[in-house]
Symmetry: C2
Subunit: 296 residues, 2 copies
């Protein structure tokens, strides 16, 4: 295992242990079926990449990553809320997530709806807690950041635009806007949250966000490329899902080479930004490059 | 019109105007289809009873109701979020709400899901805004209160228990618990929010909550009674919905007379509590009595 893979594993264990303690505290306070569905979603094996960003940016900025666990956990809870709702029959109608039955398949649709909603509110509540950060102003900034990233001006807005993308013509900048809202905003917040916790200057905060948006776009392009490349390489497998859904992508608009180049440029910019944040950025450099070579 | 009806109309106009200004500010920041669905839900004619409670309790406690408009609006937004999701096919599968097509009928299921979620986050964001209250600690308390009332430990938990009530045996105290979570928590928060805004002592805050829970239960019992009485009186109309769904209610557990007596006792307790809050409680007295005689 590389240092990065080791660090990713360590983060996952830290975050999972913390999430387990939260789940434990729900007993007797949230109805059993509801908390079971919430816990099922949270504990489906995931890479915890967003928490990884938050914890490692806190360290890079001179803090102790352990102190950022509540914020990292809140981000993962809101991420899981979005996955549960995204998988619902009215949305992507997915039956598998991370190799396991989705929440509405394992439980039922209504329970999945309520479990998603409850993960959102529990995640936000965590941010409001004194234990998360001693400064009330900082807690409010974290709450505002997460609300903006996850709501109509962020992730929900992106999902709306994505739903409409099969029937509307989108230009390259519109696709970028869509992806920035749909996945970029939450990744950008995962990075910016570290800056809020560490009370950095607004210019640095902006750059943390910029890093996150670039990384999110690079990831999305990589995803689009895999969708096409697996079609070309693996004969007999279903045709690329984007093409099937007639959704415009970076690949359909830029071509394979153009898309690959754009992803590389974005990652290059991420690496430059990293250098400006602090000297000990090796793990985050690996995480950035990881986006170009792996799917997650 | 009585003074109370006039006051209810005035509140509705104030709240509607304020909500319109919020909707206006979404332009260009939230995708059109999404913000249209959010606005459609918010602007479906409603009594705005929860905002009425918040605004009038602020006045009773010596404040200016106008200053509590953002909080009242946030409560209404979260109320509308719950109505949109409650009406979805996976939940109550309702096609009409307040006499108009429900959001998923007017738009589609996915849009309704996203619109509900976005109303929740916008409502919470409103509470985090400096304009809502100058004290950051108070804003955090309002956010925590709304999160607790609306999440797994409140409204979502109550909806989960309600879904299970067709197949499980519930005792009277379990039904009370279910209703306290499902509707009581949000009504209690509508009252307690006034206390948070006005920085009242914790004993008064508890009594404001108690008033809200009692009022919520009295309303629910009245609702159960109407379900039965309309069946008995109006021949040829569909049988009571609770009976159809085989859901235990206050009426099925206490009988018509017992349920009526319980509602009257709860309202009586509400009126005593009101007297302890302040001398100018006429409007709130009328609102309390209204629960026994009207459905809303």
């Amino acid at each position: 295992m590389t240092n990065f893979e080791e660090a990713l594993t360590k983060t996952r264990q830290q975050v999972d242990t913390y999430l387990q303690s939260l789940i434990h505290a729900w007993q007797g306070r949230i109805p059993v079926r509801l908390s079971s569905a919430m816990a099922y979603s949270l504990m489906t094996p995931g890479k915890r990449f967003r928490p990884f960003l938050t914890l490692n940016f806190v360290e890079l900025l001179g803090g102790v990553s352990h102190q950022a666990l509540p914020v990292a956990a809140a981000i993962e809870m809101v991420h899981c809320y979005s996955l549960i709702h995204d998988d619902l029959p009215a949305m992507d109608n997915a039956s598998l997530r991370r190799g396991q039955p989705t929440v509405h398949v394992k439980f039922d649709e209504a329970t999945a709806l309520l479990a998603g909603n409850s993960l959102l509110t529990e995640g936000l509540y965590l941010l409001s807690d004194t234990k998360t950060h001693s400064n009330p102003q900082t807690r409010l900034e974290l709450i505002q950041g997460l609300l903006e990233a996850s709501g109509g001006k962020g992730m929900m807005g992106g999902q709306m635009l994505d739903m409409e993308s099969s029937t509307k013509f989108y230009s390259l900048s519109e696709i970028e806007h869509l992806q920035n809202l749909k996945t970029g905003a939450m990744i950008a917040f995962s990075c910016a949250a570290a800056g809020l916790i560490m009370h950095v200057q607004s210019s640095l905060l902006k750059n943390l966000e910029k890093y996150g948006y670039n990384l999110g776009l690079a990831y999305q392009i990589r995803d689009d490329l895999m969708d096409v490349e697996s079609t070309a390489l693996v004969v007999g497998k279903p045709v690329g899902q984007n093409q099937q859904a007639q959704k415009p992508t970076f690949v359909s608009l830029l071509g394979v080479e153009g898309a690959r180049k754009k992803a590389e440029d974005l990652v290059e910019e991420c690496l430059s930004l990293l250098e400006s944040f602090g000297p000990k950025s090796d793990l985050l450099r690996s995480a950035t490059l990881f986006v170009l070579h792996r799917a997650f």
